[in-house]
Amino acid sequence: MAAKAISSPVPVDWYPTLAVVMVAVGLMFTASFFIYEATSSRRNRSLAKEIATATIASVFLGFGSLFVLLASGVYV
């Protein structure tokens, strides 16, 4: 049976773009999270909203930092 070449799940050329976009989006969500933490008063802060923002922000920051590593040549 013929051997098939294996390539990366995401084209390597996309890594820098993906890194910039995902980190930017992640930082935006992080900012909104901290703005919410700082402005809402302790009594009417909603845990669900906090966790939702934190989850989205961490997913974007997580993948973003992975692509930053890959784009800079640190192949994890």
């Binding site: 049976m1 013929a2 051997a3 098939k4 070449a5 294996i6 390539s7 990366s8 799940p9 995401v10 390597v12 992640g26 992080t30 999270f33 901290f34 933490e37 809402s40 008063s41 302790r42 009594r43 009417n44 802060r45 845990l47 906090e50 966790i51 934190a54 989850t55 922000a57 961490s58 997913v59 920051l61 997580g62 993948f63 930092s65 992975l66 590593l69 890959l70 040549g73 640190v74 192949y75 994890v76």
Partner: protein, 615 residues
Amino acid sequence: MATPPPLRRVAALLLLLVAAASTPTARADLVVTRADRKVDLTSHIVRVLTSLKVENSGPEAVSQFLLAFPNVQAKNLAAIRAFGTEEKVKGPSMVLPIEVVQPSGVPPELTFFSASLSKPLEKGKTLHLDVLTVFTHSVQPFPEEITQAESQLVVYQDSAQYLSPYPVKVQTLSIRLPGGRVESYTKYPNTKLAESELKYGPYEDLPPFSYSPMVVHYENNNPFAVAKEVIREIEISHWGNVQITEHYNIAHGGAKLKGEFSRIDYQSRPYIRGVSSFRHLIARLPPRAHSIYYRDEIGNISTSHLWSDSKKTQLEVEPRFPLFGGWQTTFTIGYGLPLQDFVFNSDGKRFLNITFGSPVEEILIEKLIVKVVLPEGSKDIDISVPFPTKQEQEVKYSHLDISGRPVVVLEKLDVIPEHNLYFQVYYRFNNISLLREPMMLITGFFLLFMACIVYMRTDMSISKNSPSYLAKVQWDEVQSIIQQIQAIFNQCLAAHDKLETSLHELSRSGDVKSCKVARKTADAQFKELAKELKPLLTSLQSSSQSYQIWPKVEELVAKERELQDKLMTRHSTVVDSFEKKLRGQDVENRIAAQQQKVAALRQEVESLLEYISEI
């Protein structure tokens, strides 16, 4: 000139061989009708290509052919390969498997290799056999120490006659020298030195185990690059890269430098004062190699050059200093290769297919350690190497690893460029494991956010009943009430806007009914909001911290109520006018005054809201 010391050893061997030749052997069935040997002495790795024409003169078919080497040569043998072609010279050649054998009745000073023929050689048939043998450490510098200005002279010894357990009818030997001076060579009948080629023969009808030592003493200034140890690490990342890092410890294996080294002499006339040294090495990297670096312990070495085309990438590295005999240096080369060129999938198993040896040209590696670092989560590791190696496994911890990456370690002594063959490492790997690293990063960030949430929610004060703490708690309460009030007023304003748009709709379409419906819903909403607002206002009023803000809130409530009233009256007026079918001009006149008031009130309410939110 003195006789090189190894000659004496050879003479002793010769005596033994003469004794051996007289012992009858049962291998006389085969006759080598022609043996041509070509010895390449241009570098420090000696390559001997022996072309043999073998005939079976006995009655029985023969299925193996014996190759004999004196032990002194056999211990330096780095590679041996045999290719067989039957009958025609230009037929398809087969690689013959070779193994070490110890036939009975042969002198112990010889090592025998047996090449198994693909099919037995019948009586009277002829076989063409090409045997490539590669020897290391066979070219000895003589003298062993030279000064900077001297050329390097080396000695090579072999037999002028082909050493074989079979009788040889016709044979020749031709030795290719690197050019330059030839100090001396053993002279036999039929010996000829022309240009840089030394020829012995043809000799005819020699019995088995014929051996006549020959020595050639000649000039060889080609780089004697000998690596004491090379560690080659191949790290696979399924994110699209095969990273190769090679650590070299290279020495000049030729004649040692005697006396001192003069940099001025070297710099002014490098090809005279330093002819035996070498200053650069060439590495042929695979095509599409990227991120290439060349460094050592103290940092980047800037003296390197790189050329690349679609077939190869050529890297020329220049160590920090020229290497003279006995000098050594260490450095590291690293480069990345695209994953799809080297890793493949077959039957659900993945495998790495890459060359074994170092990409540096004409280098002898005394100890090569190849480490294949597989991605974390690889299982069922299987190795297939075309020659024997020492194998073991270890675990490496690298970026973002939890359980570590499995590492296959292959170790081989005396590796020459002929060992640059492809080898395979098979393993199983699930693509889901690729998500381990991002998941780890995500978890890390998420924990950071969680820590923030927890910090914002914990009460860190020590004394729970100090006046300042109580004031803070009350103030928090006031703040939360105010935020709720704000939300209610914002809803109110939104409802106002809705009413306004319904009026616009009315003036456009004249649909009185929908306008009335909008009015009704707004009324209901206002009632609801007023109900919600009431308890908040009372609690705010009762709070001791609200003395500052309370008047403003009161004012806000009053203004809003007034605004609401005005809006309602205006709304009724307009709807009324539409029902009475008054002209547009009249309607405008009737509400003009109200319009102004509404706008002014709205502005006041908004500024109050803003003021409150800023507290």
